[in-house]
């Protein structure tokens, strides 16, 4: 088992969940013990509470009793509230959870694949591919028209898929993951350059529409699109659970993994497909949300003090969902009519947390 537990001293901390998990890690060394399951249960309960809170919080103040009443199928005192809860907040919160876990898992997979803590969904050029697809639609034909919003989603998915195929082709050719990483970055630069040229020749209104797309948003996914998003992400998440063991082996280094009987090329391709499906579909529906994919794996490793992907996959999925929900609720600025760009909130909220955790860990 490639399982690394950080040595710990018992200490008190203001954050109850962390001290609780610290205690957990101290007590046991076997990773899949009941204590770990308790931690996971705790995380799930917190996620459920965050989910309900995200439904109750929004620009429009709706009393909690009304929210519960509407969720349980009752009729609201104001018809608009019913519409807001069922057709605005519910799909938004579901999208946030889906996106959060998908991006976080995709980041986790890529960080293990490249053995690089800075890796995230953007390193493979998948985000950039999706951006180019979206830009082609938004900046040339407009997001209205016959196919409407699905056009943007379709084009972004196609862009992500093409980027993924290119990366896959290269992955079969080159042996070193570093070369693959650099290829992904270069692909990103090329697509970004093409988007810049498109922007240069576009109308102000189109530029604004594209700019808004790059801000990232969970509000754009409607019930009509939800089944597509959910099914793609479910497939990605299920397969990610199956990649736990190869991921653990990869942590030992590629040479060691090969000597242990791992087919690097096969695992690499498998991971690229899985990570691209997750990140590509989310980028297509929600815009490029870069931060979650890079940050949440670190958060998971810090909180659960482990590198074991059998633990990290569910933990990171839950944490990603939770962080996305919290960021989304803050971006709505509850109680005010205004709204903040999601990507900005995500980084402003998440970066200090990650830095704090890093500093805390390096002290030990």
């Amino acid at each position: 088992m490639a399982n690394k537990i950080y040595p710990l001293k018992p200490r008190s901390t203001k954050a109850p969940i962390i001290s609780y998990i610290n205690k957990l890690s101290l007590q046991k060394l076997k990773p899949l013990s009941t204590n770990y399951l308790t931690g996971l249960t705790l995380l799930s309960i917190t996620l459920l509470i965050t989910f309900l809170a995200s439904l109750a919080l929004g620009s429009v103040a709706i009393p909690l009793t009304e929210v519960l009443n509407i969720l349980l199928g009752g009729t609201a005192t104001k018809p608009a509230w019913q519409e807001i809860i069922l057709n605005f907040r519910l799909p938004r919160s579901l999208t946030a959870m889906t996106a959060g876990s998908a991006l976080a898992i995709s980041g986790l997979q890529l960080q293990a694949l490249f053995r690089n803590p800075l890796a995230g969904p953007s390193v493979l050029g998948i985000n950039a591919g999706a951006s180019l697809g979206a830009a082609l639609i938004v900046l040339t034909v407009g997001s209205g028209g016959l196919w409407g919003q699905l056009n943007v989603v379709g084009a972004a998915s196609l862009g992500a898929a093409i980027a993924m195929l290119l990366v896959l082709l290269i992955a079969r050719q080159v042996r070193s993951s570093l070369a693959l990483l650099i290829f992904g970055l270069m692909l990103g630069y090329v697509t970004t350059a093409l988007v810049t040229i498109l922007l240069h020749f576009s109308r102000l209104e189109q530029t604004l529409a594209y700019l808004n797309w790059t801000f990232g948003s969970f509000s754009g996914v409607t019930w009509q699109q939800m089944p597509i998003l959910l099914s793609v992400v479910s497939i990605g998440l299920l397969t990610s659970q199956l990649t736990c063991k190869p991921l653990n082996l990869l942590l030992l280094g590629e040479q060691q993994a090969i000597s242990l009987g791992l087919s690097i090329t096969a695992v690499r391709c498998y991971l690229i497909v899985s990570a691209s499906l997750l990140a590509g579909s989310i980028t297509a529906f929600c815009g490029p949300i870069a931060f979650l994919g890079v940050a949440v794996p670190h958060l998971g490793r810090s909180l659960f003090r482990t590198q074991d992907h059998r633990i990290l996959v569910p933990v990171v999925a839950l944490l990603g969902a939770m962080l996305a929900l919290v960021a989304n609720s803050i971006a709505q600025v509850p109680g005010s009519q205004t709204i903040l760009p999601l990507n900005a909130v995500m980084a402003l909220l998440g970066a200090p947390v990650i830095i704090w955790l890093m500093l805390k860990r390096s002290n030990h």
Binding site: A80, I84, Q149, E205, G220, T338, I339
Partner: protein, 407 residues
């Protein structure tokens, strides 16, 4: 680090591109007339300068526009633009000297422009109707981009190759401007030195003037900037006459709706990925809605610019509103709106076919006359809106800039 830097510079680039606001187009051409432009003295030049003569018998002062002022002297005018952009804390001074008379001393910091000017370049389509109403279209050498020009008159000139396009994409070609050497460049500023081009133009010694028409919060204030343009052509008398017609017409429409009490509720715009840009309650758009006798749902908001709102808060306030205006230019019918986001269909205004868009006059290249001739026709835009809210008040009026969304 590499990743975050890349993302950062990309967003910065986008922001700069957005703020520049220079409309874009593919391709460009230089007409032959660009190089053979004559620098001969204007026939309006004074040959026998007499210090005590008042060379500007017709004088104007802005009544509605708050962003500029003018001081008349015998042979020169001092024009100050006090609000070149939103929240500006610097003003720009222009010394307009009658051609053939000496340049007065004491204005070293001001840009000197000899009037009347013979040739002009515009860097925004909103200035084209100024030239049109002042009969000065012949002075036009060219503009930043052709693609957003609506005026059929100017489009014909473009097709005949009589005009020059000075930008390619979002980049203004200063060399092309220097070769054409216009007497006046009508430009605007945003207050962002990275995005604004006027600084480079001044450095190149080009006669650039900033117009703050887009900063004005009243429709008549915006339209009155045509008298500002007139100062450079010594066309004050004509400008006064044109603007008086506009303001009289506008005020009479306001009088018509002023006393109405049972006002239809209205909201504006659409959602970009969940963010709904709504005109602030003190903005130009809000003023038009108020003057048209409607009850704008965000009238109590204090902002003079657009405010980003959450879709759900717009839905909460506007679900039962009577009329919905200024939707996306991409929507040609109700199906387009639904395809973009089915939640649009839940608005009462949608269900009752009460969506009106300001894109009735658009051409193939994307030019919308609402943003062009609309700048000097606030009375016609207002008439459209009154017709939308109270069809019975203006039975004769046919919608000009607005059209109802098709089923």
């Amino acid at each position: 680090m590499i990743l975050s830097f890349k993302d950062f510079s990309f967003i910065q680039g986008l922001k700069a591109a957005l703020l520049t606001g220079l409309f874009a187009t593919a391709g460009c051409r230089i007409s032959p007339s660009a190089t053979d432009f004559s620098t001969a003295e204007s026939s309006d030049c004074i040959t026998d300068y007499a210090p005590n003569t008042d060379y500007f018998p017709n004088k104007i002062q802005p009544q509605y526009a708050a962003g500029f002022s003018v001081d008349y002297h015998n042979h020169y005018k001092v024009v100050t633009v006090t609000q070149p952009w939103q929240g500006a804390n610097e003003s720009f001074k222009y010394l307009l000297v009658q051609c053939g008379t000496p340049i007065p001393e004491g204005f070293e910091d001001a840009q000197v422009i000899q009037v009347p000017v013979d040739t002009v370049v515009t860097l925004s389509t909103t200035y084209l109707p100024h030239l049109d109403r002042l009969d000065q279209v012949d002075a036009l050498l060219g503009m930043d981009n052709f693609s957003f020009v609506y005026s059929p008159n100017i489009r014909t000139k473009i097709e005949q190759g009589k005009l020059i396009e000075f930008s390619s994409g979002r980049t203004l070609d200063i060399e092309r401007l220097l070769i054409s050497s216009p007497d006046l460049i009508m430009a605007y500023g945003t207050g962002d030195p990275d995005a604004d081009s006027y600084g480079r133009l001044i450095q190149a010694g080009l006669p650039v003037v900033l117009l703050g028409d887009y900063v004005e919060n009243s429709p008549l204030g915006r339209a009155e900037w045509l008298t500002f343009t007139a100062l450079f052509f010594n066309q004050e008398a004509m400008a006064q006459q044109v603007f008086t017609e506009i303001s009289t017409e506008y005020e009479s429409l306001v009088e018509l709706t002023d006393t109405l009490s049972d006002r239809p509720t209205v909201f504006s715009g659409f959602s970009y990925e969940g963010t709904w840009y709504m005109p602030g309650g003190k903005s130009y758009a809000a003023q038009l809605l108020q003057d048209a006798g409607s009850a704008y749902l965000w009238a109590n908001n204090d902002s003079t610019v657009t405010i980003p709102l959450d879709f759900e808060s717009v839905f909460d306030q506007a679900a039962t509103a009577d009329v919905w205006i200024n939707v996306s230019q991409d929507w040609l019918n109700y199906g387009d709106a639904i395809a973009t986001d089915p939640r649009y269909g839940e608005f009462a205004a949608f269900k009752q076919d009460k969506i009106f868009n300001n894109n009735a006059r658009m051409n193939d290249t994307g030019g919308n006359d609402y943003w062009e001739s609309g700048a000097v026709n606030p009375h016609l835009i207002l008439a459209d809106l009154v017709k939308i809210f109270y069809p019975e008040l203006l039975p004769e009026h046919e919608l000009i800039y607005y059209q109802q969304l098709e089923p």
